[in-house]
């Protein structure tokens, strides 16, 4: 499995305003009716992923799931 650049979907509990996109290095933010928010976007490598997770932790945002997504097949893959 390639551990370098990949797209990720990170799901949080709570609704995060889209203006937070810049804080999360240009990930797109989508809020869902079930009261969760999904961050979606490319991350350079594992270090970038962990950096992003730390930012979420520092805000006290409860993490629900982290998924790596394949761009060719838009459905989610378990990571």
């Amino acid at each position: 499995m390639n551990h370098e650049s990949a797209w990720y979907e990170i799901r949080l509990h709570g609704r995060l305003d889209p203006r937070w996109a810049a804080w999360f290095d240009g990930m797109t933010l989508r809020t869902h009716a079930d009261g969760t928010t999904v961050l979606h976007g490319p991350l350079a490598d594992q270090a970038a992923l962990h950096g992003l997770l730390q930012r979420l932790r520092d805000l006290g945002l409860p993490l629900l799931s982290v998924d790596r997504v394949d761009l060719d097949q838009p459905q989610r893959k378990q990571s």
Binding site: G14, R15, D17, R19, W20, A21, A22, W23, R57, G60
Partner: protein, 858 residues
């Protein structure tokens, strides 16, 4: 490094009065005894720091950690400094060793733990924001600390993420007290008590509790939002009905009600980690920063004071993140703010922060300028780890245009033991230098000239590390050839590297020449402490060459360069003590050690703690106090720190000689079994020791001694000793005759008289008329020097003397208690009395004082 400490990191935050009492948590945290670790682990905004600040006693050792503390030298410097302030003297030795070069963290911590384990009092050590520093190397040291934690030290870690420490093990042993998010959340009762007096009914309180889930940061913000609001219930209902990220929602509420000027101030200054008036003025471009900070503090609006003088503040971490995110969203481009912060920090001399903001501003070239100029000073202060971290911030293509910066990074990589790729970088720099000069970016043109020589010096070092001394000598020669006059540090480095390589190969003459050149270069460059370091080695080589008087002159000259106040001065006295010992002037030898001791740890090079003990052991042995000498040697072994020099006189071999003298031949034989057979200068001392053992075992040592003598012809110091042994083992007057001829001009005494009656008889027979021999005989027949009797006003009791003797061993507090069959508390009481009577406040000082007073020689 001491000058570079950020004082506010060692400041225990003041807690605000009037907050909610939390007896259920206090009760749990009160259990300090028998607890290995208290862990407060919860996300931001759960009131960790407030709680912990109440837990910590007055005078607790407190460290607020930051990301830069992932560097072990920085981390342990702060932790040890905090401990040393809480209990003066406990970390003296450890800090000396830590700051003077690479040493295993276990060695450094062992010396602190040794002190702490007999500490009469107790210390609370708080590591706040531990998650910022948590890293593999920090975990290693912390795990060691936890495994050896003395009961006097109460360790508390406050963190947002569980640390990489053996928590399960501590938990299983019942040695872990944990306070987690679930414990920290405000209960309904606590929420109610928090909002007392704000006119909220029970429903409103319940709604707040439910919506915030007891999250203290959110409750605090809610309270701020409620201030001066007429329709509290309306606000609470709106709040409860919105599922937005709670802190975001509430910060909006608070910010919207602040004047535009305050709002702007909060957002713009959120980019810096620590706030002070003039920095805020620089970043915002507006005056009045200091007054604004004080007003924010009064209103309890996001800021936390970092000192008692209203100078430095920081935003609460959680709000800082929210403010920064909002700033980014509203402004998009915030490079101008970072650029102004970089300038302020640069003017204030804080290069680390200046570089951080220059990089954030996208000014990598400016950042590169700053780094390039900062390298020499950081290297002098052994802060290479800081330089190393910048390598990740500055893009390679910027480095590739900047040869001076590139060589600075090479130095930092070498100091961090990252050797792969260094040769490639050196070749890149050579290519840059060969290319068109106008494509190079250099802040300080004069630095450019020294690069060719510096490159070859690093190659010399690479070869030494790779175990290829001939390559080192070759590259060092080229480096010296290329060196421009006046580049004294490069000349010194190349000379020292060449000397080390020669020494490892047994070429003492070349090694001596190299070190002499290195010392001269360092002296011209004004690095006096390093001159003293070189002088220790020079004197050592001179003694091996049998030039006692020259060794004495070397040490005295080094001392005269800077006097007693400089690091390394103490090492000079220890060296002079050894020369006095060779001349059998034990009073002078003892006196030098006393002077070394009086200078204190700040004058020690990292090797001095073991060298001092070794020197004292030799004196005690000469006085016939063999047990005391063995004790000191064992202590020397526990504090031994190597350097790059070959370990030509291993302490275990010195110890074996003492065992032989004590008649414990089987223990000495056990040591001898591990000595390599191959004869080389590096093992000469061990082989002479082995020959001594054979003589004690009545085996024929003559053939071995003859081989050693043939190999040692150009090392007069070694030769004299070998000849003395040959004379005894082979009843060989010619050997003794030669030894006397070599030894007389330098005034050697100890090497003869230490051999006792058989040697004295031989001397008497051989040259009864020689004045030198008469001097030797007189020295030997002097009654054994009587140590100064105890002259304390309030003498130590017998029991205290027992404890004192054990304090000199490597035993920790509990082991000493076991040895004496008493409780640890009893040991601590005795220790307290001993410290008071000796007028000291730590174990190390007590031991040295005891040695001076001759309390340990019975």
């Amino acid at each position: 490094m001491a000058g570079l400490l950020v004082e506010t990191k060692l400041f225990r935050p003041r807690t605000r009065p009037g907050l909610v009492d939390r007896p259920r948590l206090d009760e749990r945290l009160l259990r300090k005894d028998g607890t290995g670790l208290t862990l407060v682990s919860a996300p931001a905004g759960f009131g960790k720091t407030t709680l912990v600040s109440e837990w910590a006693s007055d005078g607790a050792a407190w460290v607020s950690l930051e990301e830069s503390d992932q560097d072990p030298v920085a981390f342990w410097t702060y932790v040890l400094t905090a401990l040393d302030r809480a209990a003066p003297g406990v970390a003296d030795d450890a800090l000396t060793v830590l700051q003077s070069g690479p040493a295993p963290i276990e060695t450094i911590l062992a010396s602190v733990l040794n002190e702490l384990s007999v500490l009469p009092g107790e210390i609370d050590l708080v590591l706040d924001d531990y998650h910022l520093a948590d890293s593999l190397e920090i975990s290693r040291g912390m795990t060691y600390l936890l495994d050896h934690l003395p009961p006097q030290l109460h360790l508390l870690i406050s963190t947002r993420a569980d640390p990489a420490l053996p928590l399960a093990r501590l938990r299983a042993r019942g040695e872990l007290v944990e306070v987690r998010a679930a414990d920290l959340r405000f209960t309904l009762e606590e929420v109610s008590s928090y909002f007392t007096g704000m006119g909220l009914d029970a429903d409103a309180i319940a709604t707040l509790e439910e919506r915030t889930e007891g999250w203290i940061a959110a409750l605090g913000l809610a309270a701020l939002s409620l201030r001066g609001r007429s329709d509290a219930t309306g606000f609470i209902n709106d709040f409860a009905g919105d599922d937005r990220y709670i802190v975001d929602y509430l910060v909006d509420e608070v910010l919207d009600r602040e004047p535009a000027q305050v709002r702007r101030f909060l957002l713009e200054t959120s980019i810096v980690d620590r706030l002070t008036g003039s920095l805020c003025d620089a970043v915002t471009g507006q005056p009045g920063g200091r007054a604004m900070l004080e007003s924010l503090e009064r209103q309890n609006l996001f800021v936390v004071p970092l000192d008692d003088r209203r100078q430095w503040y920081r935003y609460h971490h959680l709000f800082a993140d929210v403010l920064r995110a909002r700033l980014l969203a509203e402004r998009g481009d915030i490079t101008d703010l970072h650029r102004r912060a970089a300038k302020w920090y640069d003017d204030a001399g804080d290069t680390v922060a200046a570089v951080h903001h220059a990089v954030a501003a996208g000014d990598v070239d400016h950042a590169a300028d700053l780094v390039e100029l900062a390298v020499p000073a950081l290297r002098r202060d052994r802060q290479e780890a800081t330089i190393r971290r910048w390598l990740d911030d500055i893009p390679e293509d910027v480095v590739r245009r900047r040869p001076v910066l590139a060589i600075g990074f090479v130095g930092a990589l070498m100091a961090s033991n990252e050797f792969p790729g260094v040769e490639q970088r050196l070749q890149d720099i050579e290519r840059q230098l060969a290319g068109p000069a106008d494509e190079l970016v250099v802040v300080d043109r004069s630095e450019l000239e020294r690069l060719p020589s510096a490159i070859e010096t690093y190659r010399a070092a690479l070869d030494l590390i790779a175990g290829h001394p001939p390559g080192t000598i070759e590259h060092a020669a080229v480096a010296l050839d290329l060196a421009i006059p006046g580049d004294d540090l490069t000349i010194a480095a190349a000379s020292a590297l060449s000397a080390l390589a020669s020494w490892a190969g047994g070429d003492i003459e070349s090694a001596h020449r190299g070190y002499a050149a290195a010392a001269a270069g360092l002296e011209r460059a004004g690095h006096i402490s390093d001159v003293l370091g070189c002088s220790v080695t020079l004197a050592d080589l001179e003694m091996t060459q049998g030039r006692l008087r020259q060794a004495e002159a070397t040490l005295e000259r080094a001392l005269s360069l800077a006097g007693d106040g400089i690091r390394g001065a103490s090492d000079m006295y220890v060296g002079l003590s050894r020369i006095a010992w060779e001349r059998n002037d034990l009073d002078a030898a003892t006196d030098y050690l006393r002077r070394a001791e009086e200078l204190g740890a700040a004058s020690d090079l990292p090797q001095n703690p073991y060298r001092w003990r070794l020197a004292m052991a030799r004196i005690r042995e000469a006085e016939g106090h063999l047990d005391s000498a063995l004790n000191l040697l064992d202590a020397a072994i526990t504090v031994y720190v190597g350097d790059f020099s070959p370990n030509v006189r291993p302490l275990t071999a010195v110890r074996a000689r003492l065992l032989i003298r004590q008649g414990d031949l089987s223990a000495a034989q056990e040591w001898a079994d591990s000595v390599p057979d191959e004869l080389s200068y590096l093992h000469e001392y061990e082989h002479i020791t082995a020959a001594r053992l054979m003589m004690a075992q009545r085996k024929d040592a003559v053939p071995l001694l003859e081989r050693l003598r043939a190999a040692a012809e150009d090392r007069t110091g070694s030769l004299i000793e070998i000849l003395v042994l040959q004379a005894l083992a082979g009843r060989d007057p010619a050997a003794l005759e030669r030894a006397l001829t070599l030894a007389e001009p330098e005034g050697y005494v100890r090497v003869f008289v230490a051999e006792g009656e058989p040697m004295l008889t031989m001397l008497q027979r051989l040259r009864p008329a020689s004045a030198y021999v008469r001097r030797l005989l007189d020295a030997a027949r002097q009654p054994t020097r009587v140590s100064t009797p105890q002259t304390l006003l309030d003498p130590l009791s017998d029991r205290e003397l027992d404890v004192l003797r054990l304090l000199t061993s490597e035993l920790d507090g509990p082991s000493i208690a076991r040895e004496l069959v008493v409780s640890l508390n009893t040991v601590r009481t005795h220790t307290k009395h001993i410290y008071t009577k000796l007028g000291v406040n730590n174990r190390r000082a007590a031991i040295r004082r005891a040695h001076q007073l001759g309390l340990l020689t019975r």
